[in-house]
Symmetry: D2
Subunit: 455 residues, 4 copies
């Protein structure tokens, strides 16, 4: 029995190959499946099983892509009512793979159909060796149960029961392999470490340490971080069965003239994925900005309107492929093209440009102190609550999509996040709505604090 | 705290990156260090620490290569008396890395200077989270203490004490990250799984389950598998500090004529690394054969005479690079060149060729039954003891280097291993010593058994 | 104007990117189009034109794959009557691409619809700068006009006229970029050099130096090398429009048991693509053998029956992908799978194996002299005519498919080609037809000659 | 005979492999030699000859790196007085390589020791087939003879004689393979096309069409473009023999704090290689800016002070490797490190930042018209002479290093080039000298012209 973890930054998603001597299972595969094919080939095993722990809310799964490429069978929760061909598994189902036995424990909580696979290594012994815990148990956290409107308490209650009855009863030495790590919004407090053990989690996981069920339900249903918009879309895609990646068109390079024409079409959406420094330097009026090097897929899933043809502005052509993959991960399948030659060719074509001044902490402080600008902190309310500058107001970056109405388009707004990337998203939103004076505090709250202007 | 494992097949070696937010340590690095540099870059961390658990006997370590490439500090056991610049660590030493603390426990046993690093993740709690166990504790096994002539019992005794006093006292949930996996000869019973936990090992590891110290010592010092020749060479190289990989010459292509001339030089060694099928089909008289796709580095370290200029015969030029890396892993730093154009150009040059007939189980059985050939089983004595064909004699492949004298060069020998690769090594050795009729049983013992000729 | 050549070994095919500042044309693209997409991206240009010189007989063209990936327009000869969407071009057609003008000259000869594109670099001057000569004019040769039964003389006559009227009248300094180089069977005497000039070809090309038309027609219609079977298939595929590469299934690994079952199916074909040394060492009874490292695609196109599901035996899994691509090049679109674990796992499964002894020149000579074996020279008749061993008989390797009937299955045949690869193909054919004693002369005629047994 | 061209953008350098059946020569290799090793391996030939046409002024050559990696012999001009081991060649020298003969013709002109290699393909005929023309004859141009102070006329005269006596006397059909293409400053009017023929150049090359020697000398010694600073350094490096690439340290990641400290050291130089948009958005005060995606190596060689430890600011870590290679190409061997985490981490560390506003054509025009800013055109004098905005003054970007003294640090300067990249270099220079208000006209002259503000 060999376990190999595959981690996808951005969505902080972990998937696994669990291999015997000749065959293997892939658990919760990502949509770009080449990595599993290559790894299996290197190990000298064939992919014969694909195991889904639940209908992922935060990304589109690669189960069908992988099944198509390998002929492997897909196993998914009975309660998921999946529309694609699969073996439906439920409490007590057992899936043998050579010397390995996967036993299903249903763990409704994060989602109603969630389950975990408990693996036993029969070559060595009868007791559980590894838990593939999906979004039920994370390193340092548990799956948030608040994603289904009106069902949060029920699901939290169920999660408590399942954790205490089925998970915490596993041996201390049982390894824990979750579907997410730090950075995912499927929980709120995941640790950086990507695997753990039952014993260690029982000892240090804040949620497992809440003895009282009511307290647990309260804790898990209050003050949860906001959930991105695509969380309500991806589950449905995963249930129906996503389009195969190879059926999706690759974005084509478009010259500035063509690009300009296409971007004016209502069915299109203009998305600049360059660094926030680049976007600040010069960009196309009307563009959404989300820095590809940041938390791109989640941020894109969160704020971009679905069902649009996406037009990309990139720093280098290869970033068009990268951005496209990331967008596909969160359910945007229509990436039409990218600006050929980038902003250099756009500028040289004499087409409209604009900028977002990046201000230093000192410049910002002076302007704000003198009343020349308003400091808007676009971090999450949790971050704001933890510490903030007295002179600032808080509107989380994603909320600006609607809450821009609370601001006055004739004033100068300086946007601040932790480093600069989310403020740049916010800047792109404000400018889209006709705000003329929008700046970004370079280095964000961190720099502001170092300069002594915030606690 | 993030842990990433790097597994090198062949020597079945596991090394690790243990990363904080900005920096990381590499534990027991392999000699080809590019993988660590790339991984660290992808994680966005700098390599600042290099931790050696002991003086590896079975491979040349990459600590100096990595130090040269990164400027990181090397930490090695005080008792190793290492000749290169390093921080010497011993029982109780602590090495901090951001939120991570590595504590040293000395665990003499496999080697006198062996130690383990116990990691604590201070971001989460005070109890040990991971054990980097070097060659002290493996998944399903412990490090063999019999490599030092005359000291086996002492070391086994020490190993028992250290395991029981320092390792088995760690919490059940503590993860175990060893330096080797199944396939390594640093133990005899390693499981395929590449990581484990203290609790699971306490429950199922045969060595940890031996309660009685004397029984433990007896078990660990008797009936151990043979140790390859290079096990006596690599420790010394690692203590002195290996040559930097970038200082070693890359093998050059040599035309058939030049190759023929060079291979006759006493300082040279002719090594054919193609598949056993290819070698059987046609090869150069006088060549050693070790299949690159098999257990190449260990087999090469085991039987090849050191201090020679190695001349390679390969299937494709890129295999010359691959074989060279594998040879470097086990301490052969002088790979002079490879046959340009391969055996096709050699044959066309009208230079001498020979072959090893690959016989089927039926052909073999007929020949042996009728007295036309002798079946030599070249598997290890452990495999032979487990099951063998009645009509066969056992001389392990590596022993044939000296024990060929027990055979008669005028008889027809059919060599059998498990599949065909070790029999091919054995065939190359016999032919080197003037045996004229040497065949290989295709599919080896496995095929012989399936055909009903062996139990 | 920038010209980049792409050379595909095996079919010795040259294609071209001809680029302006922002856009480019691809001339006669291969079926694996990623190389053009990458090159265009690196040059910073978009692929907007795809130019076909004729309906290639020797390989399946990538025009539709490339059109699908880029949206570029395909240009093809009017006389080709192509069934896919295209711009039909004929004598005098002009295709502008920025500062470049492609002028069409029809040059029926190699095929009735053949044409050339004469490029003018308007940025520099009005006279032709480059000729994209398809299969009309090669470096050192011209396109063979004998591929259409009964039309050879007409086409040769037409070729003469077109060369003299339209090609040799171009300026001496005009560059020549043909669709093939040395190794292609679309001519018989191509030079190694991959590009040339009109003046140089007029001076040294044997065909252009034949002044008399009748002599030209005679020379080009007599003593031409045999044409591979697929030459009669590929043109039709190219006219109809080949299947898109992305629609073709990738071969899957098949365990020995499954492989054994599938290979017995009448619709399947067993193809071993390992080196001739490996095949000789051990192979599966009933397999076709064609060495992937040799002239694989042409040889495969020549002898394999079409419309079969191909099952591969490979040395390494990545060779399955490589062989599949090569097979797709010559019109075999159904590659079903490959033997997982290769011959090592096959042998260990105890499944049937056989071998082809590779004999040295001395062994061969002794056997043949003493009447113990018959030496069959499987080289082409042209090679045989040039020089051969007295004791040998000539049956070209591809003719053995039918002419095996001229041989006696109870005799020992030693097959000889130039080096060993074609003899191995021949061996696989004879064994398929029940010949029991078939050997391969290692190093072939070259070795036999060096040993003094042949002139 | 096979010829393969290798083109390096940036320095627009062409090198060549000229191969026979088993061996090959590399002509004028670049310093990153892996490409030649790989290509030779793919062709199945060994690199045995390295031919230098002259002491390159614009880049450091890879002859010694390649000799070290292959053992090949270096051939260089006798008149070059090279200090490394080589075969000195001069007029009439002949270098045989299988069927290929290279004949040396001395062609002093671009440099005193310049020579060309005339290749004959003896397999086909006796007349020259290809000219490897170094920097003597380009496509559309000839090598500039004005690089040696006080010797321009003599060298131009010599160039005229050599072209007319030795080059233009070659057959029209002889191919021309020069060492540079469009973009190089070793000439002034090179065409985009990368190879040509003698006949075509005689017909259309402006320099070859000047019949009168005096007129030629005048034309080639007047109004030549400025020569970059490193042109006076590289020849000497190439003569002495450059350091081996493998001996140079790879740049290491440096955290913001360390970076800040190091950049203040007098021996250091701070170089930002991100896009001009990014630099404009936010950068470190005191940085040089040269956009890696532009004409980076030549611009770096031109303006950066030599003998400094270079500290890089990059968009992505892999750009540090790319920039380092480019810097090595033009003789900067000391690249010490790069800013780990890029400007995002710098900003978050609260370290000083600044920006360059990118203005649109309209904004610029308004400001300049109203006297609020001065428009400085930093293009070359040739570009300025061809067309410029009335309201602008011309100081070529590289001259600003000294000519900044002509400007007034208290005024607002808007810098304009053709697209934005050179203006950004200029902006970095002005800011280094204390100019407080420096902007960049986005899209440069091209945009200004499209907006109707310039002719």
């Amino acid at each position: 029995m060999i376990i190999q973890q595959f981690f996808v930054p951005g969505i902080a998603h972990s998937s696994y190959i669990v291999a015997g001597d000749r065959t293997c299972a892939v658990i919760d595969p990502a949509r770009d499946t080449e990595r599993y094919l290559r790894a299996a080939r290197e190990m000298g095993v064939r992919i014969t099983h694909i195991l889904e722990t639940h209908l992922h809310a935060d990304f589109v799964s690669g189960h069908l892509d992988l099944a198509e490429a390998t002929g492997a069978a897909v196993y998914a929760p009975t309660k998921g009512n999946c529309a694609f061909p699969h073996y439906a598994v439920s409490e007590g189902s057992e899936i043998p793979l050579e010397d390995i036995r996967f036993s299903v424990v249903e763990t409704a909580g994060h989602t109603p159909e969630s389950l975990c696979y408990v693996a036993t290594d029969l070559a060595r012994g009868d007791s559980p060796v590894s838990l593939f815990s999906g979004d039920t148990l994370f390193v340092g956290d548990v799956g948030r149960p608040d994603l289904f409107p009106g069902r949060a308490e029920d699901l939290a209650s169920s999660l408590y029961d399942n954790l205490h009855d089925k998970i915490m009863t596993l041996p201390d030495e049982c390894e824990v392999y979750p579907a997410h790590g730090a950075g995912s919004l499927c929980g709120r407090a995941m640790a950086a470490k990507r695997t753990s053990t039952i014993g260690y989690e029982k000892r240090y996981n804040y949620a497992l340490r809440i003895k009282d069920k009511d307290a647990f339900v309260r804790a898990l249903t209050s003050e949860m971080p906001a959930a991105p918009d695509h969380f309500t879309r991806c589950s449905a895609i995963n249930r129906a069965g996503p389009a195969l990646m190879k059926s999706l068109a690759r974005p084509v390079p478009l010259g500035p003239g063509t690009f300009f024409k296409k971007m004016k079409d209502d069915r299109s959406l203009l998305l600049d994925v360059r660094s926030y420094q680049s976007f600040s330097g010069v960009h196309i009026p009307g563009a959404w900005h989300i820095d590809l090097s940041g938390n791109f897929p989640t941020q894109a899933g969160w704020i971009l309107p679905p069902e649009k043809d996406i037009l990309l502005v990139v720093e280098e052509p290869r970033h068009a492929d990268e951005a496209t993959l990331q967008l596909h991960r969160v359910g945007f399948d229509r990436v039409a093209g990218y600006l050929d030659g980038g902003m250099l060719s756009w500028g040289a074509a004499g087409l409209p440009i604009t900028r977002v001044p990046v201000l230093s902490a000192d410049e910002t402080h002076t302007l704000v102190s003198e009343g020349g600008a308003v400091l808007v902190d676009v971090r999450s309310s949790e971050e704001w609550d933890a510490a903030h500058a007295e002179s600032s107001v808080n509107i989380p970056w994603h909320d600006l999509r609607t809450r821009f109405t609370e601001l006055n388009p004739t004033l100068h707004y300086i946007l601040m996040c932790r480093g600069g990337q989310r403020a740049s998203i916010a800047a792109s939103i404000l400018k889209m709505h006709g705000f003329g004076m929008v700046s970004n505090l370079g280095g964000g709250y961190t720099a502001y604090k170092r300069a002594g202007y915030a606690p």
